[in-house]
């Protein structure tokens, strides 16, 4: 099993519903975010291209945050999901500095926190909160090892890019372009 997400940048309108849904579902403290929208304007006026990306932890196959964790608090669970065990985290900040996507933050209570792909919802057979609420249905989630999953099929069919693959992290968010 290998959970992954595909984000259709052509469908995303940057409404930030995914951000609000995550903050509500996961009790993210005010002022913090586990997922966010990036807006890229590219080109020469008046020929401009606009891209919206709903970003979050890439749940990397080669996760630098897990490697540098001194206590084993940052770990990988079934399905390749990168998680932090709060009671093992000392808040040293190494994983925060190690993430090239800056996907982690220090929770006001002291431990490091991040996107979990809503593994508590997955256990109940539900999609992550961000995927469930997306009004344009631009987020696809599922098992990349299963060729019939929605995410496998859309990644096979469409052109995609991953973020800074040259950092060697083997990210698992596929941005459809």
């Amino acid at each position: 099993m290998r959970y992954a997400m595909a984000i259709d940048t052509k469908k995303c309108v940057g409404c930030t519903d995914c951000v609000v849904a995550c903050q509500t579902e996961n009790n993210v403290p005010i002022g913090y975010a586990r997922d966010w929208i990036v807006e890229v304007t590219d080109g020469t006026y008046p020929q401009l291209e606009l891209e919206f990306r709903s970003e979050r932890c890439n749940h990397c196959d080669n996760a630098p945050c897990v490697r540098c964790c001194p206590t084993g608090a940052s770990h990988i669970i079934e399905g390749g999901i990168v998680k932090v065990e709060h009671d093992k985290c000392i808040g040293c900040g190494a994983c925060v500095a190690a993430c090239p996507y800056d996907a982690r933050y220090v929770h006001p209570e002291g431990y490091v926190d991040k996107c979990t792909f809503c593994d508590h919802r997955l256990e109940q057979g539900q999609d992550p909160a961000c995927v469930a609420v997306c009004p344009t249905k631009c987020l696809y989630f599922g098992d990349m090892d299963d060729p019939n999953s929605e995410v496998s099929k859309v990644v096979k069919k469409r052109k995609f890019k991953t973020l800074i693959p040259e950092a060697g992290t083997e990210p698992q968010l596929y941005f459809l372009i």
Binding site: G31, W36, E39, A94, A98, P100, G110
Partner: protein
């Protein structure tokens, strides 16, 4: 002109607009750790070579400061932790890929070793010092038979500690300025150099000051070479590392780095030591004070600038 404008909706504290996870605690600790490593290295080395009586400051006096320096450094590390009450988790696991874990375990060995070494020599500095309890005296008497073994352990652990202060940063691929393996040897050299400078400042013996000062001069030369190599490596690397180097080659850290760290912290003390060795009268404390000042500033700049350097996507 083709341009790209990136707007992120994220504004997490300490992360955006740029990483600020490590403030003053970490660079201060890296300096103290490097300094302690330097002092222990020379104490161990001179002891093994039978130079205890020739260089008493290096072997007997300076190491007495090491437990204090390390304790302050460890206090800074503790203050930096955001989930403090769980710090003991460092010692319920060992992660071979984590420099932080290596550092925690190395310090667990270095700290008691430095305390024992300091305890063995404390009467050299404070003649009236009296260990109140008989068992302490017995223990120290027993341990004084293993000074050679301890000296060897100090040399090896000092190198591990010194290199680790650099690897702690260089292990982060996400921060292009830190991601160079030369940082390990560079921080070790800088740590040894500040250690030598510390010994020179403490020493009352002219011959010892001169000898350690010459070692420091050699270390400064190596450090200059390593810094130049670091920037050559960056400029020959990928775009993100070229941009990281440009912060020091025309960018916002140019003046601070080249004036205060490179000139005042390395070149001027080297020139002063050369003048001194040629018999010119120079107050002996100026060069080592500058070396220590440069060592502190170098770590603050590297930790701060590294957090500004990043991948763009």
């Amino acid at each position: 002109m083709r341009e790209e404008l990136i707007v992120s909706g994220r504004s997490n504290p300490m992360i955006d607009p740029h990483l600020e996870i490590w403030e003053w605690h970490i660079p201060a600790y890296l300096f103290l750790g490097g300094l302690a490593a330097g002092i222990l290295f020379f104490a161990g080395l001179f002891y093994i070579r039978g130079k205890e009586d020739k260089y008493p400051t290096a072997v007997r006096v300076a190491p007495i400061y090491v437990p204090i320096l390390l304790a302050i450094g460890l206090l800074f590390l503790f203050l930096d932790l955001k989930h403090k009450l769980y710090f003991w988790r460092l010692y319920t696991s060992f992660s071979i890929e984590s420099p932080t874990s290596w550092g925690a375990w190395t310090l667990l060995l270095v700290m008691p070793l430095s305390v024992i070494w300091a305890a063995l020599y404390i009467q050299y500095v404070f003649q009236k010092w009296d260990w109140k309890y008989q068992w302490v005296k017995d223990a120290l008497k027993f341990l004084s038979g293993y000074k050679r073994e301890m000296a060897w352990a100090m040399v090896v652990l000092a190198i591990v500690l010194g290199v680790y202060t650099g690897i702690l940063l260089s292990a982060f691929n996400a921060r292009p300025l830190w991601n160079t393996s030369i940082l390990g040897p560079l921080f070790l050299t800088s740590g040894l150099s500040t250690g030598a400078a510390f010994i020179v400042l403490l020493s009352k013996d002219k011959a010892e000051r001169h000898y350690v000062g010459m070692i420091d001069l050699m270390l400064i030369a190596i450090e200059i070479a390593l810094i130049i190599h670091m920037f050559m490596g960056f400029k020959a690397s990928t775009r993100v590392q070229i941009e990281a180097a440009d912060m020091f080659l025309g960018g916002q850290f140019t003046a601070t780095f080249w004036v205060f760290v490179f000139s005042m912290g390395l070149v001027i003390p080297a020139l002063l030591e050369i003048l001194e060795s040629k018999g010119k009268k120079v107050p002996f404390y100026i060069a080592p004070s500058l070396v220590i000042f440069g060592g502190i500033l170098f770590r603050f700049i590297m930790v701060h600038a590294g957090q500004l350097s990043r991948w763009l996507y």
